[in-house]
């Protein structure tokens, strides 16, 4: 297909004595972020318990021009997190304070690291009106492995005033389920307090794979000398184990059992093995004047689990000088609940599907943030043979009306080769 498309559009090529390279020299992006969240609705402990989590991520992205038309990009990174809620997959370690959904445990699931490797290759036609891309993706963490691939095609026409694009992505993922400790062989509930005998509804998932297929379509148009817009849509289908195997659920129609202050789970969440999502988004950017630009975004999302969501954001880059740009931003998000969401003890044991994951509940969220960018087009500061082109520093504060709050710092630097 790649060869067919390439042949088909090669006849449009305009013969120029000089064609600007797609990427002049090699670029290296060094990226870092620190994320911190807290809340009281942990899904691991059935919708009630600490959601305290910190995550530090670093990535390096290398872009290499192979020739005037082709660019190879390699993106590798590692994300290390520490989570109080996942530590309570096993809350009964002997080294911590009394077992409780609001206390972190010191077990093995307290922390993990995700590593990713994401190579991509992009080819542009000589007239720069066609762009082809292919990409791969591999990521791994202790209980989850993901491998994916994709490709895309972009076509510009109308004197590069109009752009259409289509791309696809496939992810073939697999779980290594870490079930809550009370559901594992060998666990003794003889110390549990409660009425009767503790018997859970748990049985292990048979299918431990999760496949995701997505098709993305985009359309972008220059509207005036100062304004341009785009519309884009994804069609996403997921199949397989869409439940998270370590997220407990407590039923309202069975007796409760406790060890110390920790309630033993009645089951793990049960969600359908298919999900179909359609997000549709739009951007509108306006160059107000030489100091101020308006960047706006809206997205409507719908899926067949009953969730509808709206996202809108506005960023206003303000050019303070030739080198410094300040960009305050605001984002609003709201969603309805999944059909299968129940608060703790609200689900009953006869239901086919249930979850107490508050990420699938109805809520709204506000995110306030700001960033500052330093840009030196002359790359006068050098590290070895690379010149410093940009430094981006961003901060965001995220507040959900169910009590979850978070903040994130991110830092990005771009170096270019001589």
């Amino acid at each position: 297909m790649f060869l067919t498309l390439k042949w088909g559009f090669s006849q449009d090529a305009i013969s120029n004595s000089y064609t600007k390279r797609v990427l002049e020299t090699a670029e290296i992006d060094l990226l870092f972020s620190y994320y911190d969240q807290d809340g009281d609705n942990a899904a691991v402990t059935g919708g009630e318990g600490t959601e305290e989590l910190t995550d530090a991520t670093s990535s390096i992205v290398v872009k290499i021009p192979l020739n005037p038309d082709d660019v190879l990009t390699v993106d590798v990174g590692i994300s290390a997190y520490s989570s109080a809620s996942t530590s309570n997959i096993d809350p009964f370690d002997k080294n911590s304070s009394i077992a409780s959904p609001f206390n972190a445990s010191s077990g093995a699931s307290q922390s993990d690291a995700l590593v990713h490797f994401n190579p991509s290759y992009q080819h542009s036609s000589k007239d720069r009106n066609s762009v082809y891309s292919v990409q791969g993706y591999v990521s791994s963490e202790y209980d989850y492995f993901s491998i994916g691939f994709g490709g895309g095609y972009t076509r510009l026409f109308n004197e590069k005033n109009t752009e259409i694009s289509a791309s696809f992505q496939v992810f073939l993922d697999s779980w290594n389920p870490q079930y809550p400790i009370e559901f594992r062989p060998g666990f003794s509930s003889q110390d549990a307090s409660g009425s009767g005998t503790y018997i859970s509804s748990f049985s292990a998932f048979e299918d431990e794979t999760r496949n995701s297929y997505s098709l993305s379509l985009g359309f972008a148009q220059i509207l005036t000398k100062r304004m341009q817009a785009s519309i884009f849509m994804d069609i996403v289908s997921q199949q397989g184990l869409l439940s998270t195997p370590h997220q407990r659920v407590y039923f309202g129609d069975v007796n409760d059992f406790f060890i110390e202050d920790f309630q033993l789970g009645d089951n793990v969440e049960q969600l359908p093995d298919t999900r179909f999502k359609i997000p549709i988004g739009a951007r509108l950017n306006y160059y107000l004047n030489d100091r101020v630009i308006l960047r706006s975004y809206y997205r409507y999302y719908s899926d067949d689990w009953g969730i509808n969501a709206h996202t809108t954001s506005l960023e206003i880059p303000i050019k303070l000088s030739d080198k410094f740009t300040l960009y305050p931003n605001y984002r609003y998000y709201s969603q309805t609940a999944a059909d299968y969401f129940y608060e703790k003890e609200a689900a009953t044991s006869n239901l086919p599907f249930y979850t107490s994951d508050y990420d699938l509940s109805a809520y709204n969220a506000h995110q306030y943030g700001a960033g500052i960018r330093y840009k030196d087009i002359f790359t006068s500061a050098k590290v070895l043979t690379f010149g410093l082109k940009t430094i981006d520093l961003r901060f965001g504060k995220y507040d959900r009306n169910d009590g979850l709050n978070a903040y994130i710092f991110s830092l990005g630097t771009t170096f270019v080769g001589d």
């Binding site: 997190y81 000398k225 100062r226 997000p279 950017n285």
Partner: protein, 62 residues
């Protein structure tokens, strides 16, 4: 229909008139520096996609 309106109602802007449109801040996609914010939003929110980011893969389970 939206596409038709967009593509027929606008006068084509010539390359030499695109100085404002070519400003880096006018880019019609999420910025590279937003990737980490997009990543945590994908984890914490049910909705994802339609922002040029990854629309699958990864468990989003912590």
């Amino acid at each position: 229909m939206v596409l038709a309106v967009f593509s027929t109602s606008c006068v084509a802007v010539k390359e030499f008139d695109k100085v404002y449109l070519n400003d880096e801040e006018m880019m019609l996609s999420a910025k590279a520096s937003e990737r980490f914010e997009t990543n945590f939003q994908i984890y914490r929110e049910a909705a994802s996609g339609a922002n040029g980011g990854k629309s699958g893969g990864g468990c989003g389970c912590n």
